[in-house]
């Protein structure tokens, strides 16, 4: 422990946080829980922050502005599609085509709907479009792949981790994909899925526990 650290500790105990009641109340929260609260990541990823700044700075949401915004968001969409599309016989290029279709629709909407110029709306809107396209693609793939007796065969992801993620229930799976693969913060994920950040954290912990168990980690 550094000298400064010791001094801060000593000052804390002399301060209003050091009364007997306050001290006991502090001890009700384990230090690790408090540290988790302080480690809450930035509420906005760099891509979203830049996209929102662009939209706010633009006088009109013209084709050029929309194009620039989509260029910023595209990596997030691409990561989401690659993580969620059950590829089966699809090549990775075809997955990327789904991401392109999502981006094209999103770009068009940016031009026609000026209300999309804030962070939660941008992400939620892009997410809804991507989720719809991915679900449709997965349904098509499942319909095409059949077992010997002609019944639809559920296409499994390749790789143990992807297969384990596929076993999670819908909400947990989306949280893991958005947080881990797409890289959204807990707050952004919460906005996108209509949950509270605290719920995202709780479900994320539960999902990770399940994954660890499934993968015998």
């Amino acid at each position: 422990m550094t000298e400064n650290h010791t001094r801060i500790d000593e000052l804390i105990e002399r301060s209003s946080l050091g009364t007997p009641g306050a001290r006991r109340l502090r001890h009700r929260t384990p230090p690790a829980v408090a540290q988790d609260l302080l480690d809450e990541p930035s509420t906005m990823t760099a891509e979203t922050r830049e996209a929102v700044a662009l939209l706010n700075a633009a006088v009109d949401h013209d084709q050029e502005t929309a194009h620039q915004v989509v260029a910023l968001i595209r990596p997030l969409v691409l990561r989401y599609c690659r993580a969620r599309v059950q590829r089966g016989d699809l090549a990775i290029e075809q997955t990327d085509e789904i991401a392109d279709a999502v981006c094209a629709e999103f770009e068009q909407n940016l031009i026609t709907d000026p209300d999309l110029a804030d962070e939660p709306k941008i992400l939620s809107h892009a997410y809804r479009i991507a989720n719809r396209h991915v679900t449709a693609a997965n349904e098509r793939t499942e319909a095409e792949v059949r077992d010997e007796s002609g019944h639809p065969l559920r296409v499994k992801y390749s790789g143990a981790l992807a297969a384990a993620v596929d076993q999670l229930d819908d909400v947990k799976r989306e949280i893991i994909v958005l947080r881990v693969v797409v890289g959204l913060s807990a707050t952004e994920t919460a906005d996108v899925l209509g949950l509270r950040p605290a719920t995202v954290r709780v479900l994320q912990h539960a999902a990770l526990r399940t994954l660890r168990r499934t993968l015998d980690m």
Binding site: T2, N4, H5, R7, I8, D9, L11, I12, R14, S15, S16, L17, G18, T19, P20, G21, A22, R24, L25, R26, H27, R28, T29, P31, V33, A34, Q35, L37, L38, E40, D169, V171, G194, L195, R196, P197, A198, T199, R201, V202, L203, A206
Partner: protein, 265 residues
């Protein structure tokens, strides 16, 4: 502690500024029952607030950043989370919001430990940032005004509560809709709506006749917290009063309960 704060900020100096010796808490103390011990509190409170100022100045020298800030913020989070959980449990948070004109609507009929934990986490995470920026860096907190650092911080938490609560309420409604639409959501819903021990204790206590007979909210809250294992110093801190006053509240309640029981038997 002297010196110049990075960014040209000069530390505030308790030794050279006239102190207000009578603390005026940010919380409304008008309903606190009279108690001899109250007379002894201003001196201690003044000392604590002077240490608060010293602490604030040390943090300013570190630019409200780095390991010093982190250490302080950690203790602030531990304290704030415990207070918010206790206030959510006892319903006091809604009284506090009403006093600050930010009442978010009535307390929910049913919420779980997880709900209260999540709300406390959201509130404290947002309040720490607001507190640092406005109270400490922006100098919204003035040690002479009477409120201690911890009281000021809890005030910041109260102001953050309505947003977090509304968000929780919206989500709760969404969960209920999901439950109606999709039975497979039950597993998740089950996690949120399980009966927890604190709720059962609360239901048990609230259904008792003696509890209904308690004439004032402060005694009810003290009773609730006491039934949950909070110590007298903790309850005193949570109600911003003295240990002796808490003792008085609970003794008077027991006498009233015994007298009622004797009369009705």
């Amino acid at each position: 502690m002297g010196g110049v704060v990075p960014g040209g900020e000069t530390p505030l100096d308790a030794a050279h500024e006239p102190a207000t010796t009578t603390p005026v808490s940010a919380l409304d103390l008008s309903s606190v029952e009279a108690d001899d011990e109250e007379a002894e509190r201003p001196a201690e409170s003044l000392e604590r607030r002077q240490a608060d100022l010293e602490l604030r100045n040390d943090l300013a020298l570190a630019g409200f950043d780095g390991p010093e800030w982190r250490r302080f913020a950690e203790e602030l989070a531990r304290y704030g989370r415990a207070v918010m959980k206790a206030w959510c449990y006892s319903g006091e948070i809604f009284n506090q919001c009403r006093k600050k004109n930010c009442y978010p609507g009535p307390s929910p009929e049913h919420w779980t430990d997880d709900d209260r934990d999540g709300l406390a986490d959201d509130v404290v995470t947002a309040a720490i940032i607001a507190f640092r920026d406005r109270a400490l860096i922006g100098r919204g907190w003035d040690w002479r005004a009477g409120a201690s650092l911890k009281t000021y911080f809890i005030g910041a938490c109260v102001y953050q509560f309505p947003n977090a609560f509304r968000r929780w309420r919206t989500e709760d409604q969404t969960w209920n809709q999901l439950r109606r639409l999709d039975p497979s959501a039950d597993e998740l819903l089950h996690q949120r709506h399980r009966d927890d021990t604190e709720d059962l204790a609360l239901i048990h206590l609230e259904s008792s006749t003696a509890f209904d007979a308690i004439p004032d909210d402060r005694t009810k809250i003290a009773m609730l917290l006491h039934s949950q294992g909070y110590t007298y110093p903790e309850i005193a801190d949570l109600l911003d009063t003295s240990v002796k006053a808490v003792d008085g509240l609970l003794i008077r309640h027991r006498k009233r309960a015994a007298s009622t029981s004797w009369r009705t038997s």
